[in-house]
């Protein structure tokens, strides 16, 4: 059971709200020592893994483009655009984005979207503008809630759409694992059995997004009243 020391260290680190980088380093040390690795071998193993995982941080390459466009008024332009759409509301807009994200992911286009490329520069400002149009100036908590929901719409859309595509990494991983265990399944069967959950995700998160507009209005009026009482 010593193997699990690293997991425990990490959980304790997160629970104590330690800086996550330090918690990770402690968990690496604990796991490595529990596996009877020397400190030198632990540093080597971590260095090798860190180097092999560099592709994960490539996404920050988009920041110079996004920053440049933001300075030239990209977010403001996105706001203006959504201001022209009469039926737009934050919840409906995010629902539409989630459906598009899920649909494109289901045909393998998982890179159409993402937090740095789409959510921060376009989707979140549009959702905020749609809410502002209905409720006037937003207070900070409401604004943060809308932004968090914009990120969530992206995640839910891509997570529960991508497995419908037969060449997706997770489908290939499942197939590879089942093959090794002597069970042959066709990738298309795995894709098809991903559809019920995809529909459930649309129903559950979609319903939450449609209720989100009403919740926003309540939160906004509640905080207005609180501000009023305060004054």
């Amino acid at each position: 059971m010593w193997t699990l020391t690293g997991v425990a260290v990490l959980a304790i680190g997160f629970a104590l709200r330690l800086n996550p980088l330090l918690a990770i380093a402690a968990a690496v040390a604990a796991s490595g020592l529990a596996a009877h690795l020397s400190p030198y071998a632990i540093v080597c193993a971590f260095g090798r893994a860190f180097n092999q995982n560099r592709f994960i941080s490539i996404v920050f390459l988009v920041l110079p483009v996004i920053g440049l466009l933001e300075r030239a008024g990209l977010q403001e332009r996105a706001r203006t655009l959504i201001g022209h759409v009469r039926v737009a509301s934050a919840g409906r807009l995010l629902l539409l984005y989630m459906l598009l994200r899920q649909l494109t992911a289901s045909v393998g286009l998982t890179s159409l979207g993402g937090h740095a490329q789409m959510v921060r520069p376009l989707i979140a400002p549009m959702a905020e503008a749609a809410a502002e149009k209905r409720m006037g100036a937003l207070d900070d908590a409401v604004r943060a809630g809308i932004r968090a929901h914009a990120a969530a719409a992206d995640n839910v859309g891509v997570f529960f759409g991508e497995d419908i595509f037969i060449a997706m990494g997770s489908i290939l991983l499942i197939k590879g694992f089942l093959d090794q265990s002597g069970i042959v399944v066709q990738p298309i069967a795995l894709s098809l059995w991903s559809i019920p959950t995809a529909i459930a995700a649309i129903v559950i998160h979609g319903a939450r997004l449609l209720l989100f507009d009403a919740r926003l209005a309540r939160a906004q009026s509640a905080s207005r009243e609180a501000a009023h009482d305060h004054a």
Partner: protein, 317 residues
């Protein structure tokens, strides 16, 4: 064949630019910390393939120490004035959207066209890395288009990129660090240990109980590891195949597909999946680091319940 290496060099140069411009930011009291942090990351991207494991390990440790002990700060960089941005937005209009949309459009082009392009007998792009290489190409094209239309100072992209990068701060390396931790966990055999624990602790004599343990186990194990891919082989070898498929006769495709998606419910609620949950919170400047997770929690719980029911109803027909 174009591999990830030139993309890493491109990223390394951009991070080096962030480090240099960070050094010049006199409004940031900890500017040396920022410059050292982005400089180390730049070194990793520029030279990581030649440094060797131990040097890479020390480099990662340096990032942990700089970020972990709060040696990074933020300058009072004058974020462009709202009025100026409004004027500029009115001036450029929808043309502003074009460079932003070039990036996903190039991703689309890469997946549909470049992926299958061959020069002689080899692929033009490494087929396993098409999406990342396309992202880098898209960034280069979008940057060229934006510079051409907007005619800003030549240093503007790096200055503005650095402003956003500093807003994210050390959280930027969290996804890469957590993925590396996952590799250490795998080395130490954490997966096998958890699988053993899950099967020993719980009596599984009825299909519904076994389905519940499998689905919830996938989610919980994903929360721990931050990645459903790490949880899937362990939980499926421990419960999915021996009990659900072999003992109760469930359809393996149904069990495996819905099992994986149960793991994704865990991804929605774990800070370990930092690139989906923590980095966006920083990127969107949320006051709460767990703001995105809190919003996703109800969906994750309801969807996990739905997955459990779906597997029970669909796998044993």
């Amino acid at each position: 064949m174009i591999t990830l290496e030139p993309v890493y060099v491109f990223a390394g140069l951009v991070f080096a630019g962030f480090a240099l411009f960070g050094l010049k930011d006199a409004t940031n009291p900890r500017r040396y910390g920022n410059a050292a942090f982005w400089g180390l990351l730049a070194a990793s991207f520029l030279a990581g393939s030649r440094l060797g494991d131990f040097a890479n390990g020390l480099l990662a440790l340096g990032l942990v120490l700089l970020g972990g002990f709060g040696l990074l700060g933020r300058g009072r960089a004058p974020a462009s004035v709202l009025a100026e941005r409004r004027t500029s937005a009115a001036k450029f209009g929808n043309r502003l959207l074009v460079p932003a949309l070039i990036i996903p459009a190039t991703a689309l082009f890469g997946t549909l066209v470049l992926k299958n392009l061959r020069v002689g007998h080899t692929f033009l792009l490494d087929p396993n890395q098409v999406s990342i290489i396309s992202l880098a190409i898209g960034v280069a094209v979008a940057l060229g288009a934006a510079m051409f239309w907007l005619r800003p100072r030549w240093s503007a992209p790096l200055e503005e990129g650095r402003r956003l990068m500093d807003a994210i701060g050390w959280a930027a390396v969290l996804p890469q660090m957590l993925a590396s931790l996952g590799a250490i966990f795998a080395l130490a055999g954490v997966g096998r240990a958890v699988g053993a624990l899950a099967t020993e602790a719980i009596p599984l004599n009825a299909p519904l109980a076994a389905v519940s343990v499998y689905c919830i186990g996938m989610a919980v194990f994903t929360v721990i590891m931050g990645n459903a891919f790490a949880a899937f082989p362990v939980m499926t070898a421990a419960i999915g195949l021996p009990l659900l498929v072999h003992k109760f006769g469930g359809n393996p495709a149904t069990v495996a597909a819905i099992g994986m998606l149960s793991g994704y419910c865990g991804t929605l609620v774990t800070p370990m999946a930092a690139n989906f949950n923590i980095v966006p919170a920083a990127l969107l400047e949320l006051p709460d680091r767990n703001g995105v997770i809190k919003v996703q929690m109800p969906t994750a719980c309801l969807l996990l319940a739905a997955n459990t029911m779906l597997m029970y109803l669909l796998a044993f027909r």
